[in-house]
Each structure stands twice: as C-alpha cells, then as structure tokens.
Amino acid sequence: MRLSEILRLVWLNLSQNKFKVILTSIGIVVGSATIMLVLAIGTGGKEEVAEQFKNLNAGAIDISCDSSDSGGFSFEMPGGGGSVTVTNMGGGPGGGSGGGMSGGPGGGMDFGGFFGFGQEEESEAVTLTSEDCDDLATFVSGISATTISYSTTASVEGGNMTSASYYTIAGVEDNYAVINNLEMAIGDFLTEENNESKEKVCVLGATVAKEIFGSAYDAYDGIVYIDGRPYIVSGVLSEMGTVASGISPDTAIYVPYETGIKYITGTNISPTITVIAEDVNQVDTVMTDVESALKESYPNTTFTISDAGSKMEAASASNETLTLLLISMAVIVFIVGGIGIMNVLFVSIKERTNEIGILKALGCSRKDILLEFLLEASFTSLVGAVLGVLVALGITPLVQLFNVRVSLSVQGAVLSLLFGVFTGSIFGFYPAYKASRLIPVEALNQE
C-alpha cells in the first residue's frame, strides 16, 4: 500500500477516536511537558550561575587572613575545591605588617608544631596591606593584576532619605572595577588620585542609588553622608544582579581604599587581596606561589586562599547534577507514559483484531499493518508531545512564581517533541508487530 494511503487511513482512524487519542497520549503529554521544563530550568540555572559569577574573573584568587583558625596545615575545598587554608606553625617571627617579602628570619617551613608533639599555637592575626599586594605582584610570577579591598557597614544619609540607613561600604582601589567586571551606568569609577589624596568621593551600586536618590541619574554628582561626612557621588554602577560571592555590587557604596581607612573604618579591617592569574590554567601554581610568598612574610598566620574558577566549576557542577536529576525524572515519566501507550495499543489491537483479520483477508501485508499501527502510535505520541509543549508553556509562569528561573527555548520544544514521538514509536512497535503477525483466520473469527 502507498505510504500516503496508509497515512490517510491512520488519519481516518485517529480522527474518529479523538478522545481515545487524547487519553492515550496523557503519559506523553506529562513526559514532554516535564522534559521541556527540565531543559528550560536547567538552562535557566546555567544562566543564573553565569550571571552570579559575571563579576568574577576566572583567574581571580582571593587571599584573606583568617585569625580564628589555630595551628595545623589544612586544606579546605568547598564545593569540590578552590580554597586552601594555610598555617605555618612555629616558623619564628614573621615579617609583620608591611614587611614585604623581606619577611623575618626563620620564615618558611619549620614544622615546629609538628615536632612539638601536637602542641597547637594560635594563628597570628595580621592585616594585609597595599604593600603586600605590591609584593605579590612583584615577587610572584604569572600575576597580571592585584588589588586590595575590604568591606564594612556604616550609617548613610542623604538624597531622598528621611533617616539614616546602614549600607555596605567597600574600600577599594581604582582597578577593582576592572578586576570585578563592574560596569558604570553613569560617571566614572574611583581613581588612583582619589585614593592617594584620600578624597571623599564614592561610587554607588544601582540599588543603593535608587534607594537614596530615586535613580542613577539623580544620584550622579549628588552627596551622601557616610558616618556624617559628605561624599560626592562620582558614578553609579550598572545593575549587576545577585552575585555568588564577595561584595554585592548593587547594594554597596564604594569609597577609595585609603579614604575609608581614614574616615570610616580606621585600621581595624580584614582586607582581601585579589590577584589575577595571567593564565587560567596556571591558577593552582599561582596559588602555591602566593601561599609560599605569604609564608615568608607572615609565618605564623593562617590565610584563606580561594580561586573563583573552582567556585564557578563547583556551582556549574552542582547545577549540572540537578539538571541530570531532573532529566532522569523526565525519562522515568516518559517510560511510564510509553508503557501507558503500549497498554492502550494492546487493548486497541484486541478491539480491532477482527478489523486486522479483514485487512489480512483482503490482502494487506504484514508490513502495511505494522506500519499503520506504528504510525498510529507515533501520531498519538505527536499529539501528546505537542500538548505537552503547550502545557509546559502554560505552566512556565506558575514555575516562575516560585522564583525558579526558566529559560524556554525552541531547541527544548523540538527535543521534547522528538522524545515524545520516539517514546511512543518505541513502545508502539511491539503491539504493532503483534498485530501484523496475527493469523488471518484467527483474527477474522475474533468477535
């Protein structure tokens, strides 16, 4: 029989059993909707991760001093890696603050604590400085840039505010914006001159500008009072959204590093040095070198050294695991849906055994009967898959209500359609095959 005529008969059969087709395809509807949403949620998750890390440089390494830890040499790998906590014990007097790479005598690996039979020594708290930053840039190879920053909270007034509010104040150097991929909505970022002259200028995050002045435009060149002192707003950042770690740009006020120390925090700060590895593949080596360099300067101090790349990888890996889990769910739904189709087709073939007998008596070949029933299963699945895609489109706003990022795509829709038809065809094959193998006289005599 011609394929066009078989298709015509398939259409005839399905169009006369619309309700049955819809009921049969419910499993595929659920499966297709699930797979489309899973892909959309997975893609949305990836985009969210990318957005959260957009202010991070893949080659960035953060170094901070952790004075709370005590003795020992420990590695801390959150999320599968990325952070090393280093303590050098009993190594003699350190170089102290601002000591630079000259360090102190006795620096380096002494393992005093180890040989001291488990005696633990308190980690010496130090404050990292701009000089440490310069030393790392000078003595550690493979570094393209360094910067130092800290954050605190302070009372802020000005603009349209009727009373003071507390905001995150970040003391940063002029290259902070470039290193953290910050973009200006209006104005300029802080300059080296601002820092050296300890000028009272600031850059506002997008949310802060909106809250204090109503808009970025109004905020520009305005004045905010931090701890009662006036700061001129030299610029406003573009909206960055949620970020995975570090200072959240939207809700922070950036002031020059030295200005903040002089007027807001004093010297009681815990700065973070950020170094950028020239080659992303050399991040581990740079981390080790940084660690060694810091040991020279501060032999009794614990540092937390973490790299952004590992954080990104960990977040991506966890997102991929979630996506894989959701896809597994969708596959299970498809299998259940497919078994549903198979059962209904078996019942349908039982009902239509006599019809199959007539077709065989009239000379319909096994191939044509197989094709007809297989196409019926495929079209039923296609109907289910199309309905599934529509259901997914309908459900998406509801999912978004739960703050789940959903990124629908044409590829996702096509893939769920293909999956739906494929599942229906696979599970429809066996019943169709059984129908084609019926013995004519037995099929014909079936009531």
Binding site: A361, R366, D368
Partner: protein
C-alpha cells in the same frame, strides 16, 4: 487441468484438542474449473468453513497439494499468500466483515489500495461495480447506516473490484432476510454468467440449489 481454477489433492487438516488431534478435513480431493459456480453444502461441524479457509489461503493445511489458478499454494509462503488473497480471491462473508469506521466507498476500495493504487484511482476504478450493485447513493454511509442486504452488496462489491480469479462466499445469505437473500443469489448467477468463478459454502440446500453444481461435505469428507 489447464481449465482448472482450484485443484485440491489429498488435503488433510486437523486441530489439537488438548493432546488429541481432531481431524477436520480428511483426504479432500476437489476441483473447480474456471467459470463454474459451485456450492459446498454441509451441516454445522462438517468442516465446510475450514475448507473455505483452505481455499481462501487463510489457513494452512497439514498435508496435501493445493493449486489455485495454476499456483502451488501449499508451497507458498505467508507473505506471498497475502498477494494471492489480494489478487486472486474475492471474499464474501456471512457477517459482511466491513470495517465499521470506514464508509461504503472506503470499504470497497480497500483491496485496490492494497495493490498500490491511490484512493482517487481506486474510486474511479470501482465506479462501475458500485453502479452494478446499486450502491451509488450509499457511498458516504457507514456500515451501521445500511440494511443487511446493502451491507452484503458492499461486501460483494469489495470482492468484485479487484477482478479476482474466484469469488469465495461463506454463507452469503445467512444473515439476510429471504428477499435480500434471493437478491444476492440472483446477483451471484448474474456474476457467474459474466464469467466469474464462484465457490459458495452453505448449510442451506435451497441456497445451494442456486449454484450450478453442488458438492456435499460430511464429517470432513466430500461427496459428489
């Protein structure tokens, strides 16, 4: 032999009833020549339906030789038997065996579609047959909208459209009232007069007498 449409030699067929074999057809030797109109007459359980299934290539024999229009059916595989059923045999069933979801036209053209024709070609080809059987005004109707006699005429039309070598009718008047039955038998005579070979199976002597030749089957054996 050259004129033979059906030649059966020593055909045996039985079914397993538990562990015991129940013989249905015993050493059947039978011949129908081209253009003949033969009735096979027998009571229920005599094996006449089984014999019809054998003639119609719907079932396989246990032993014996069967030639249909010169073709050795006993040596033919199932896939080729499909072609034989489509091109050489026109079935007319007691309970019509129409596909309920198809209309009259769609039912009638099925054998032609199976030969690879498009539905337009098939519809064109069966126009005369539809006219001959007086179904012109019923082609869009579904089987459940027709009377028994009309259904049987649709069944006959379907059997005729492919211009088969033989028309095989199983109790063609069994489900019809007397008037409709007579019309069908009259039609068979006319078709035979037009050169069609017809083999009819019936338990009714009155119906069998409309054929030109009667063969009796009793307990799976033929008696002339």
């Amino acid at each position: 032999m050259e004129n033979a449409m059906i030649t059966m030699k020593n055909i045996n067929k039985g079914y397993m009833l538990g562990e015991e074999r129940l013989p249905i057809l015993k050493d059947i030797n039978f011949q129908v020549n081209k253009g003949e109109y033969v009735a096979i007459l027998g009571p229920s359980g005599s094996g006449k339906t089984t014999l019809m299934n054998m003639i119609g290539c719907m079932d396989v024999m246990d032993s014996g030789e069967y030639y249909l229009d010169g073709m050795a059916i006993h040596e033919t595989k199932e896939d080729d038997l499909t072609m034989v059923r489509n091109q050489k045999i026109g079935f007319i069933f007691q309970n019509y065996q129409l596909i309920p979801t198809y209309n009259v036209m769609q039912n009638i053209i099925m054998p032609l579609l199976m030969r690879g024709m498009t539905h337009e070609e098939a519809e064109e080809k069966c126009k005369n047959t539809i006219k001959l059987l007086g179904l012109d005004h019923r082609i869009g109707h579904k089987p459940n909208e027709l009377s028994g006699g009309q259904k049987q005429r649709v069944s006959i039309a379907r059997a005729l459209v492919g211009q088969p070598a033989i028309l095989l009718a199983d109790e063609p008047t069994g489900a019809l009232d007397q008037t409709s039955g007579k019309e069908v038998l009259k039609l068979f005579r006319e078709l035979n007069d037009m050169g069609n070979t017809i083999v009819m199976i019936t338990h009714d002597l009155g119906v069998a007498q409309s054929a030109k030749q009667i063969v009796r089957i009793v307990d799976g054996q033929l008696q002339e």
